[in-house]
Each structure stands twice: as C-alpha cells, then as structure tokens.
C-alpha cells in the first residue's frame, strides 16, 4: 500500500516521458493523456490525504535503504495537504490550457507541465534536504521551459531574468546544504532535527549561518521583500496557465520554511532564536505592504495580479513568522485560499487579454469586454477573495492571521499592515475593475455618438461568436473551490489544527523515519539477494 506514496512523483515523470516519446506529434492524444494523468494524480493525492488524516506518518524508503543513509519520502498531514492542493489545482489549470488553446502555441507544453508537477510533488513529499534541492531543480527546470512557452521577445527576456535569479537561488541552496552537512554530517531532515538539537550552543556559528542561508533560499522562492524582484516580471509575462500553476510554486517556499523551521530549527531552539521575530516577521510585513502598493500602482492587470501574489505571500509569511500553532493554521488556510484565488485571477487576466481588443492587459479605456457580465462577475468574486473582503475565504484567512498575531510582540504592526494593506488592495482592485468593466461602457457610448469610429463596434461583434466553455468551467471551478473553502472553513481549520499540532510534535516524525528497518546488507555478493528482499518486504513498510 505504501508504494502509493511514490506515485505522485513517478506518475507525472512516466507520463511526461510517454508524452514526449509516444505522443509527440499527436496533440489530442497528449491532451487526453495529460488530463487523465492529472485526474489520476488527484485520486492518488486524495488517497494519501485520507491515509494521513488520522495522523499516520507513512514513510517510503527509496531502494529500501534505511534512513538516514537512503532517501525517504514522508507523508504526514502537511505533505499530503500540499500534495492535495497541487493535485486539485493541476487538472483545472490544465483544462484551461486545453480549452484556451495555450498548449497549442508552442512545443512540449504537456510534458513540461507533468515534469513541473513531478518536481512540486517531490518537494512536498521528500524527507531529505538534498533531495529537496533536487526536486526544486526539477520543478525549476520545467518551469523555465513553461515560462517561455510560445516565445516572444518580452517573455524571453523576462524568462532569462527568472532563470538567472533562480540559478543564484540554487547556488545559495547548495551553500546552505554544504554548511549543514559540514556541521552535522547528515542531510536527512529527521536525523538533522536530532543532531541540530544536540549541538553545543557555544560552538554553533556554522549551523546558524546555514539556518539563515536556508531561510534566504526559501525566501527567494516565496518572494519575500528584498528577494522578490524576480516575481512581478516573470509571473506577468508567463503564459496564463503557467502563471496559474506557478501560484503553487511560491507556496513551495513557504512549505520549505514551515517544514525546516518546525522540524530542524524549531522556535524553542536556542541557537536560532530571533530568526523569526527579528527578521522574518518585519520582512513579511514589508513584503505585504510592498505587494499591496504594487497592486495600487500597476498599469497592467497582469502586473497587478503578480503584485497581489507578493502581497498574499507577505500575509502568509507574517502568519508563519508568529510561529505558534495558530499562526501555522492561519498560514496554511491562507496558502490554500491564495493558491486558488491567484490561479483564478491569472486565468481571468488571460481571458481579458484576449477579449480587450487593442489594449490587452493595459488599464486603459477600451470597448466593453465581450461576454462582459460573466467575466466581470468572476473578476468581482476573485478580487473579493484576493483582497480578503467578506464573505469569501480571504476574509476568513485574514481573521485567522489577525487572531494568531495577538500573542506576538509586534501585534500592532501586524494588524496595522494587514488591515491597511487590505484597504490599499481593495482600492487597487476596485480601480482596475471599474476601469475594465465600467469605464468601457462610457467609452463605447462616446464612440457611438462619433459616427467615424466603427472599429470598436466591429471588434465587439467579432467576439460575439460563442466562446469555448472549458476555460470558463476551469475558472468557475477555482472560484467554486474558494466558496467551498469558505463554507467548510470549520472542518478545514479542524484538520489544519491537527496538522499544526503534528508539526510541533516532532518526535513521532523522527521516530517514524529513523526507526523503520531497511534492507539487510549481507556482504559484497549479496546485492541481488538484497534486491529480492526489497521486493518481498514491501508489505511490512510504513507502520
């Protein structure tokens, strides 16, 4: 049964290879396989989530080597939750890509999409710090390909910036891992947790440097303030379905922070004291403020949404940085919410880009958007969710964050920034929405009085042809998920409370990883036997 644990990594990897090798020139076959694959992934993720809901920690030893010598995949509540969120997002975004024809505009969209999923799933599941780096690279290298999908000068330039920034991030990650290994002699997270806790506080300069470097690496991924410069350009220029999938990538950074700093460098650890309240919390608040100001100042809707991603990451990390169980609950709830809200907004921006003739994403006067009421309604709902107005899940998430911050020393700063930032975001989104959907009618009315301008009229008529339903279904489903997240906020936070409790009680995790027996190594000639053991022993795993 525990072999299912590796399925979220293996399934997309195998599927991507098949898509490249077998279905290379058959777009419809690619689409069918790819969509079917993501739904299968969703089924697997649901199974894993169900398995971990009662607090079971399943461990999968790759090659049946015992931890800390072999690499392990670990599925606890946090991992399976993030895997499930990714698996829900993936088919919806893919349906949009198929329905809008984005996958036709360049080569190898579907294989790259699957490789990206493989990397994200692996990063959430792995229990080994170096393996985390490898999965980061897998998801990054797939994202480089997706980022420049369908080409174009601006996209290539933004893509080059994105790649260079992430190369530096990867180098930093390796420096952090090298330092950790030099100080502790292990990279298995559970083993690290034990060895770091046993380190002498007087002789801890190296591990402190490593902890800060690692935090910087995750901060690059999560776009925390001084390290956020890669995000607006690359998210705005990336193809819409890719930007929507990238909504989960910033959460990989947040996941890394939550995982490493609850397990390996827990808040009560003497040697890394002050990392969160002195550094991460102010940085997160600045990120929040900067993102929301960016929302207000953007002249393009895609940039506006990209800045709202930065703002929401600031919101999320200010909840993480409080570093209590209630803070983690708030952060996780907000992470789920902002993933779906961001994805829906990026997809809506793409719809608007196609339909606003001549002006595209620029916030300028234009003729009314074809299919206005539906698109405008969806934009309204998504903007309410993103800015955190009642009644949608953004509001619930923000309440949780405000509540979690009450115990913090910086409580007034958190409350002030979160509330003022939300107000600024509301104004920013309101300005964009009224410019796009309302001002256009005024422009159209002016134009009708002017007999010479027929162009606008003709353009609206062009778009009167029935639109494909699939993109709207995808966006509608994402918004439906936000509604569901609001309606079922009680059960969801109940599960998240259990998740946070599991995160702060690290002993079962460490015990589950380190106490599982691996294969026996007999002698130099026993390799084949050992391999057979691995095949027969699998039923005993994971208890």
């Amino acid at each position: 049964m525990t072999h299912w644990l590796v399925a979220p990594v293996v399934l997309p990897a195998m599927l991507a290879a098949i898509l490249v090798l077998v279905a290379r020139f058959h777009l419809s076959l690619q689409r069918v396989l790819s969509v079917a694959g993501t739904f299968a992934l969703l089924a697997v993720a649901l199974g894993l989530f169900w398995q971990a809901r009662d607090g079971t920690i399943s461990v999968y030893q790759l090659g049946h080597w015992q931890a800390p010598f072999g690499i392990v995949l670990v599925a606890d509540r946090l991992s399976t939750l993030m895997v499930l969120v990714t698996a829900i997002l993936a088919p919806l975004v893919l349906l949009y890509a198929v329905g809008s024809g984005w996958d036709r505009r360049g080569a190898h969209f579907h294989p790259l999409y699957q490789f990206q999923l493989m990397g994200i799933m692996g990063a959430f599941l792995t229990g080994d710090a170096f393996n985390l780096f490898v999965f980061f690279e897998v998801l990054l290298i797939a994202s480089y390909g997706l980022m420049i999908h369908s080409g174009g000068q601006r996209r290539l330039r933004a893509g080059t910036q994105y790649v260079l920034y992430n190369l530096l991030g990867s180098t930093l990650f390796l420096f952090a891992l090298g330092t950790i290994y030099a100080k502790t002699g292990t990279l298995n997270m559970a083993d690290l947790a034990m060895r770091v806790a046993a380190l002498d506080a007087a002789n801890s300069a190296g591990i402190r440097v490593a902890a800060v470097l690692l935090l910087l690496v995750f901060a690059v991924k999560a776009a925390v303030l001084p390290l956020h410069f890669w995000l607006p350009g690359s998210y705005a220029e990336a193809p819409a379905p890719v930007a929507a999938l990238f909504a989960i990538m910033t959460k990989v950074g947040a996941y890394g922070i939550i995982r490493m700093y609850t397990l390996v460098f827990p808040p009560e650890l003497e040697i890394t004291r002050g990392l969160f309240d002195t550094w991460l919390l102010p940085a997160a608040l600045l990120t929040l403020a900067m993102g929301m100001i960016g929302v207000l100042g953007s002249r393009r809707i895609d940039k506006l949404v990209a800045f709202s991603v930065i703002g929401s990451m600031g919101m999320l990390l200010s909840a993480v940085a409080v570093f209590t169980a209630s803070g983690i609950v708030a952060a996780l709830y907000y992470a789920i919410h902002s993933t779906f809200a961001t994805a829906a907004l990026f997809l809506l921006v793409d719809v608007l880009r196609d339909r606003r003739t001549g002006v595209g994403v620029w916030l300028r006067d234009a003729v009314p958007v074809a299919g206005g009421p539906l698109v405008a309604g969806m934009f309204f709902v998504a903007a309410i969710a993103m800015t955190g107005l009642p009644p949608l899940s953004g509001f619930v998430g923000k309440l949780l964050i405000l509540d979690a911050a009450r115990g913090s020393a910086l409580v007034w700063w958190v409350w002030g920034t979160v509330l003022a930032g939300s107000l600024v975001a509301v104004v920013g989104f309101g300005r964009a929405g009224s410019q796009i959907f309302w001002r256009s009618h005024q422009v159209a009315a002016e134009r009708e009085e002017d007999p010479e301008s027929e162009a606008g009229e003709a353009n609206t008529k062009e778009h009167d042809a029935p639109e494909p339903a699939l993109p709207m279904v995808a966006i509608g489903s994402l918004l439906g998920l936000l509604v569901a997240l609001t309606v079922f906020a009680g059960p969801v936070t109940g599960h998240l409370n259990a998740t946070a409790a599991q995160l702060f009680n690290t002993q079962p995790y460490i015990a589950a990883v380190l106490s599982m027996p691996g294969k026996e190594i007999k002698d130099d000639h026993g390799d084949a036997d050992a391999h057979d053991d691995a095949a027969t022993d699998t039923t005993e795993e994971g208890h």
Partner: protein, 125 residues
C-alpha cells in the same frame, strides 16, 4: 591544503558575484558558472579534506574520506551543467529576438503602447 581550498572558494565566489552584477547576459552567465564551481568545491570540502584515503567504508580501514559529499557534488555538477545550458539558450534567444543582450528589461517595455488602434477607435494599419 585548507588554505588553498578556502581561498579558491572565496576567490571564485567573489569573482562570480562581481560578474553576476554586470548588465549583460554573457558576463552574468559566466558569473553563475563561477559561482557553481565555487559551490561544487565547497560541497566537496564539506566532508573534510582527507588525502590518499579510500572513499568507501570497508572493514579494517581507519582513515577514509567521506563518500557522501562526492555523491552530492556529482549531482550538483550535473544540475548546474544542465542549468547553464538552459540559460545560455534562453539568453541567446532573448538576444536574437530583442537585438540586445541587456539583462534588464528596457524602459520602453514599461511604457503604455502609444495609440493602440482600438483606444480611440482610429483604424491604424
């Protein structure tokens, strides 16, 4: 030996950071390559430096060199090699399409495109 390794890592890193801060893609790529060399040597040294020692644990051997960093550095080399290839191709693509190799996005990209034909209803051909 320690002095040689640490100065090599330091010089490579310093040179890499200097190059990364240049404005054009080619020096920046050279910079990231230098940084990746530096980090590879650094990873290699993270298992302590041992001379003339067997890399694999065997019975009866007292002095051995840590095999894990060697495996790690091999992975890191492969990944950084692949990444460099990707970034070279992307930089080349952006150079060929834009006609210049600046890393920064030029200021004109941030300007609102002037007089899009639907903006005021003029037919622009």
């Amino acid at each position: 030996m320690e002095f040689l390794m640490s100065t090599a890592i330091g010089v490579l890193t310093a040179a890499g950071i200097y190059m990364v801060l240049r404005l054009r893609t080619f020096p920046v790529i050279i910079g990231t390559s230098l940084l990746s060399y530096a980090v590879n040597v650094f990873l290699f040294a993270s298992g302590r430096l041992a001379l003339n020692a067997a890399p694999v644990l065997r019975d009866g051997i007292e002095v051995y060199t840590d095999p894990i960093p060697q495996a790690l550095v091999l992975t890191a080399i492969v990944i950084s090699f692949g990444m460099t290839a990707v970034v070279v191709i992307m930089a080349l693509g952006s150079y060929l399409s834009a006609g210049e190799d600046l890393v920064d996005v030029p200021a004109r990209d941030a300007e609102i495109p002037t007089a899009p034909h639907a903006l005021r209803g003029e037919a622009v051909e």
